[in-house]
Symmetry: C2
Subunit: 451 residues, 2 copies
């Protein structure tokens, strides 16, 4: 992996330079990465990006090329340049495990170390979580709407070419079955799939020749795209060529809800009763939900998943929540918060418990401010160690994140599974050391006024 | 640059494999990359991505690692593997020059070569143009709304970390003044800027200490962030410390429209009459336009520009528009088109002229189907050669694209500069060899019914 160090906003470096001169750059601090609120109408979000963030952290190194650029542009002075050359994050990171759900104010990541080493990671961490979690949050709703029928992620062409790979990864965590993107297969071991586009049919003099060529190369289990010219004629041809044994057809246009019913009848009448119907065509979770009773066997989703279905970013922010009063490494940290209008933060280290009822269903996201919330037997602690004293300890196979997502979804109360406009699935409650809600930040399914 | 070859949908390879077996893989074809329509309410789009696409084309090579992955997953057979190993695009590409405007149906790129070599580029080209042009299209509207006041792109943290760099590039083409992203500075020479975040202020025991530290490191021309605690108090401190010579203040919260007027008065009353006011806080083109008469000297824009201000992708597609009837390299190509419901394409090679009136204002986008439109003296041909016989000839400095954007915007009719909901600025007209509009695809400021 090439260096990720310059995927950083310039002001991180100007702040560190100024703090170095002032002698405050190495005060111990804690920063928190959190979403102020869920997008309107969403009942939960899905954490994605953790594994990529840990990889990016490993590659966060200022090499000769990076340092030369910074020096040539007057961004570093010799002291800052020397410090960057040796930069290795040496602090601690705790956070939500990948695939788990998040809610308003959830401390997705808590990063602790010297001000300089912690603030420097702001841009990169936010980029990764804001993107990947937006995609996973949308994908999870599509997975719910599909009710077990497989979804292929095929949106790579609708987003930046590298975001494409990260999108495939995030969608897979959130339950998609495969991706069209080859690099997602190579980088992350995600199952890849794909058959043919309209251009393939158009390459041949007749549709029948195109189908024959595809069947010869891919076998009868393949998926034939049937809407380049006339759908019914294409289906008759496809069934005839395979004597009814065709694996699947794909429809990429028209009013799918009526079309699939008609097409199912036609396939059945021709004896192709086990030929599956795959639909694509600007689908999102609402259209998938609308096809609930329809004879659809699989979905391909593109634009809407890679663009977060209306919410392409999560609005996560990275804020200082506590710091030491001196440069002494062992000095205790005190909570700090800013008071900007509508953008204030809640100071203090956070510890999170998902309160789970006897029926296994979540009832609250309890965030202890400076304290670990008390737990009952069913409750589970949400945060895990990701980096300890600079050592990455949170790496896991991607399949773990996918399995965790599935378990976390199973804990959702029924109203939280609604695809239509919903409230937050469970309330976020900030508690103090007495276990009682912190007065001014109680969140009843909504972000508090001052969060 | 590492290989871009696997940033490709799997079906491009399954199609090529099947076509190879059928003997049609090397028929000469022409594919066109075009947007079916502009997003609702937009009067124009901005082409961005061309320079990146040419770089990505140069890096589109299947090395040992890529080939091993494909072989291991049964995606390639020996014949396809051998062909990919030698893959070098050998065809021709013409297209809109970067920074120019586009409209419904504009053939942004026309790619000609063998079916196999041309179809293989589909995913990567679409990813780049769909992303970069979405950002540039949004950025251009913000530039118009800012009426000459500089805009800083600071949205890297809201999008995928690599999309961040491409976004900074696209925004700069469309008139932004600088970017917060260091990698955008290194990769593309874009001016970078940035000063401090709230965390910097919170690192110190008092706001005054923080301001002193920043002034010491960056000088009095710096921008001090004044809304961590109390805005008025911060401004008084900042002016006092610099004896009124402070470069700028930044406000990142509150109702900016009333706030900046109040703050301007305060600065003036304290004698800091030349201290500039920079505003940030989830700005988009509408909020920038709403600050038209306000004493704002510069804007920072994040989320809205990197997410295309409501339209994070352009909906560009890549479709076969003509092909030869045989594998003979010199066989003439005939137009082809698909007839899918609501998604039909217009067959044939396209050549584009921007019709310009005597006043220098554009009046139509004239697209010749299979023919070069006749031009008058003021008109200009829109497409340029980008690749000839596999040789990249369209590389240019990024500043060319930025200058071209500025010139193209100067040609826009006044209603086309509206930030509020508008029709397409000029009509798209498809013409045939007689110069007359092609009957069924005349576009009067709107996409035709069948486009």
């Amino acid at each position: 992996m090439t260096s990720t160090a310059l995927l950083t906003d310039m002001y991180e470096l100007t702040m560190i330079k100024a703090a170095m001169h002032a002698g405050t750059a190495f005060r111990r601090c804690t920063f928190e990465l959190f979403p102020r609120r869920l997008p309107p109408g969403r009942s939960y979000g899905v954490v994605a990006g953790t594994g990529r963030a840990l990889e990016a952290l490993r590659a966060f190194r200022f090499g000769d090329e990076e340092l030369a650029f910074l020096r040539a542009n007057g961004i570093t002075d010799p002291e800052l340049g020397a410090w960057l050359a040796d930069y290795r994050f040496s602090g601690n990171i705790r956070g939500y495990a990948e695939g788990d759900l998040f809610f308003s104010g959830s401390p997705i990541m808590v990063v602790e170390g010297s001000f300089a080493e912690v603030v420097l990671l702001e841009t990169l961490l936010l980029s990764i979580f804001n993107h990947d979690s937006a995609v996973a949050s949308a994908a999870s709703r599509m997975t719910l709407a599909a009710e077990g029928r497989p979804i292929i992620e095929m949106g790579g062409r609708r987003t930046h070419e590298q975001a494409s790979v990260a999108s495939a990864r995030a969608a897979w965590i959130a339950g998609f079955g495969s991706s069209a993107c080859l690099e997602a297969g190579r980088s992350w071991g995600i199952p890849v799939s794909g058959t043919a586009a309209h251009a393939f049919t158009m390459l041949f003099d007749t549709e029948e020749e195109a189908f024959r060529a595809q069947l010869a190369a891919q076998g009868e289990s393949t998926t034939l795209l049937v809407d380049t010219y006339d759908v019914d004629e294409a289906i008759r041809t496809a069934v005839r060529l395979t004597e009814g044994r065709l694996g699947a057809i794909r429809i990429d246009s028209g009013d799918l809800s009526t079309e699939v019913r008609r097409v199912r009848k036609l396939l059945d009448s021709l004896g192709a009763t086990s030929t599956r119907i795959i639909v694509t065509n600007d689908l999102d979770e609402y259209q998938i939900a609308a096809l609930r009773g329809a004879p659809v066997d699989g979905f391909g989703v593109g634009t809407s998943v890679v663009t977060g279905s209306g919410h392409p970013t999560c609005g996560m922010v990275y804020k200082m929540v506590s710091r030491a009063d001196s440069d002494d490494r062992s000095a205790p940290q005190s909570p700090v918060s800013k008071k900007s209008k509508d953008k204030s933060t809640i100071g203090g280290q956070k510890f999170v418990l998902r309160e789970i009822g006897d029926d296994g269903i979540a009832t609250a996201e309890v965030i202890g401010v400076g304290v670990t919330p008390r737990s009952d037997s069913n409750d589970r602690m949400v945060m895990v160690d990701l980096v300890r004293d600079g050592q990455i300890v949170g790496t896991e196979p991607l399949s773990e994140a996918r399995a965790r997502h599935e378990r976390a979804i199973a804990e959702l109360p029924l109203p939280g599974r609604k695809i239509s406009r919903a409230e937050q699935a469970i309330p976020t409650v900030f508690v103090d050391e007495t276990g009682r809600p912190v007065d001014n930040v109680y969140v009843a399914g909504k972000p508090p006024a001052n969060l």
